[in-house]
């Protein structure tokens, strides 16, 4: 979508390097300043080892999620942002439905962005905290591998934890 207008700048200004990230899910492209993108350890390693071309393809991450990741990186690359501002901005980024959060945590893990991984996991934990285990199963896409007898046994062991839950 966005193109790189930075080349227009005159030579006296220090050249701001940019990278283009491309979602391989829906081919959306994002142009970001290099120092913003380098918060991703994965991208940093690619750049450091000269594996990065003009366009860095990002597999398994949709444009929608990639936009959130970039928003996070931009906020945290801003040296004048106060801790409070960052907290608020982070809260805004993770104020999403649980399935978006799961995608986001996967993206943060793949791109190796520690801070984003932390806030997203915390938000997921907060969201599943009061859910019955059947819902947690569905959210994580886990198949129940307990036999009915085993399930009953585990449940009986901790039945206090299931008070008020199906």
């Amino acid at each position: 979508m966005a193109s790189a207008p930075e080349n227009e700048k005159n030579a006296s200004a220090p050249e701001k390097k940019t990278l283009t990230l491309k979602s391989m899910i829906n081919n959306e492209e994002f142009v970001v300043d290099e120092h913003v993108a380098l918060q991703s350890v994965t991208i940093k390693n690619m750049v450091d080892s000269d594996c990065a071309g003009d366009v860095i393809p990002v597999p398994t991450i949709s444009g929608e999620i990639l936009a959130l990741v970039i928003e996070y990186c931009k906020n945290h690359a801003n040296p004048s942002a106060s801790e409070d501002d960052l907290k608020k901005a982070d809260a805004g980024i993770v104020a999403k439905d649980i399935y978006t959060l799961i995608d986001l945590v996967l993206a943060a893990n793949f791109l190796d962005i520690k801070g984003l991984l932390e806030v997203t996991s915390q938000k997921i934990a907060d969201s599943i905290k009061d859910l019955p285990h059947q819902d947690v199963r569905e959210i994580f896409g886990v198949e129940n591998d307990y036999t009915p007898e085993e399930e009953a046994a585990v449940r009986a062991e901790h039945d206090w934890a299931f008070e008020g839950f199906p």
């Binding site: 899910i25 398994t60 991450i61 949709s62 929608e64 999620i65 399935y99 978006t100 799961i102 995608d103 945590v105 996967l106 893990n109 991984l117 932390e118 996991s121 915390q122 997921i124 934990a125 907060d126 599943i128 905290k129 009061d130 019955p132 285990h133 947690v136 199963r137 994580f140 896409g141 886990v142 198949e143 129940n144 591998d145 307990y146 399930e151 585990v154 449940r155 062991e157 901790h158 039945d159 206090w160 934890a161 299931f162 008070e163 839950f165």
Partner: protein, 342 residues
């Protein structure tokens, strides 16, 4: 919707889409025991993750225990609290306190012992027990108790106050505020509250056994409104033992047999009708600080270590810590041996 991204092709179990370390990270953010146990039922894999968790701290919400209405209608405030706490004690400390099961009718969910619960984890460094505590006092309060060994209370402090206002607001109210007599009409409630909290502290001696076994760094007991906490700190246990050996002959045998509540306590009370807190420009009205220590403390050393209470309150709100520090400098009533709870 976006879930299809998670599915990695060729894997028979598509939960593999979420890498182990991510699942572990998410589960490690669940600090409440109840919900961790529910997650055990998600799948065997989840259950194995949960036992591997290296949690820094785990909160354990103790189920609410209901006293049947026919009791609560009849009994006074004091016995109500007594029954409530005895009930807790009965549920948690069956070996320590001889109470006949028929004495109190308890309508409570069946409950796993703390030890059984800790055995589900390979490593936990601290535990927080959260008790239901529904006592409504006609004032605000914060309390803190600390224990230095497996049986005895080192100190208990409670800071109570009627209100806390901005200084300006308080000047406006100045004229209307003279009707309060000098005497403290809240003494009754304070007294019972202290009793109640001390009873609650009994739970700690039970916890201690497990702390030592489980290599926990510290344990906290608090109530749902987080008004206070009981804390056991490992680093002080050694200090206590050396102190205790010196005093060995004065320690009565039943005291060990029993529990911390069986011993006499001294208390000191500091009162300040209007406490000005400089840093936040606020005024605390009818502030009262109650400190309770076991009888073996001499008058001149009674206040040793109480400043730590200021630090304890400070963690919640800086101005509360400052209030405690200021009040400790105020002239106080003498030590009074008020608590002898058998």
């Amino acid at each position: 919707m976006a879930m299809n991204l998670v599915v990695s092709e060729g894997e028979e179990d598509y939960f593999n889409g979420l890498p182990d370390e991510v699942v572990l990270l998410i589960l490690s953010k669940l600090s409440e025991a109840k919900c961790l146990f529910r997650c055990k039922l998600v799948s065997k894999r989840f259950a194995s993750f949960i036992s591997q968790l290296r949690l820094r701290s785990l909160s354990f919400f103790v189920p609410h225990i209901r006293v049947p209405p026919k009791y609560s209608d009849l009994i006074t405030l004091r016995s109500k609290l007594w029954i409530f706490l005895k009930t807790l004690v009965y549920k948690f400390l069956p070996n320590l306190i001889p109470i006949h099961p028929c004495e109190i009718e308890v309508d409570a969910p069946s409950f796993t012992s703390i030890n059984q619960f800790l055995s589900n984890f390979e490593q936990i460094r601290s535990v927080c027990l959260v008790f239901p505590f529904n006592y409504e006092a006609p004032f605000e309060f914060k309390w803190y108790a600390e224990f230095t060994d497996s049986k005895k209370l080192d100190f208990f402090v409670m800071l109570s106050f009627e209100s806390i206002d901005d200084m300006k607001q308080e000047e406006d109210d100045e004229q209307t505020d003279h009707q309060h007599p000098e005497g403290d009409d809240n003494d009754f409630e304070t007294g019972h509250l202290v009793h109640a909290i001390l009873y609650q502290s009994v739970m700690r001696s039970y916890l201690d056994d497990h702390i030592l076994k489980q290599q926990l760094q510290n344990a906290e007991i608090t109530d749902v409104k987080r008004r206070g906490k009981v804390r056991v700190r490992r680093e002080r246990i050694g200090d206590y033992w050396s102190l205790e050996q010196k005093k060995l002959e004065s320690v009565m045998e039943w005291e060990d047999e029993f529990w911390a509540m069986g011993m006499p306590f001294y208390k000191k009370v500091w009162r300040v009708p209007k406490l000005r807190i400089g840093s936040s420009r606020r005024v605390m009205k009818r502030a009262k600080l109650v400190a309770v220590r076991p009888m073996h403390w001499e008058a001149d050393e009674f206040e040793d270590g109480l400043l730590e209470a200021a630090t304890a309150f400070e963690q919640e709100e800086a101005e509360l810590g400052e209030a405690v520090r200021q009040m400790l400098m105020v002239e106080t009533t003498n030590m009074t041996p008020v608590f002898y709870i058998g």
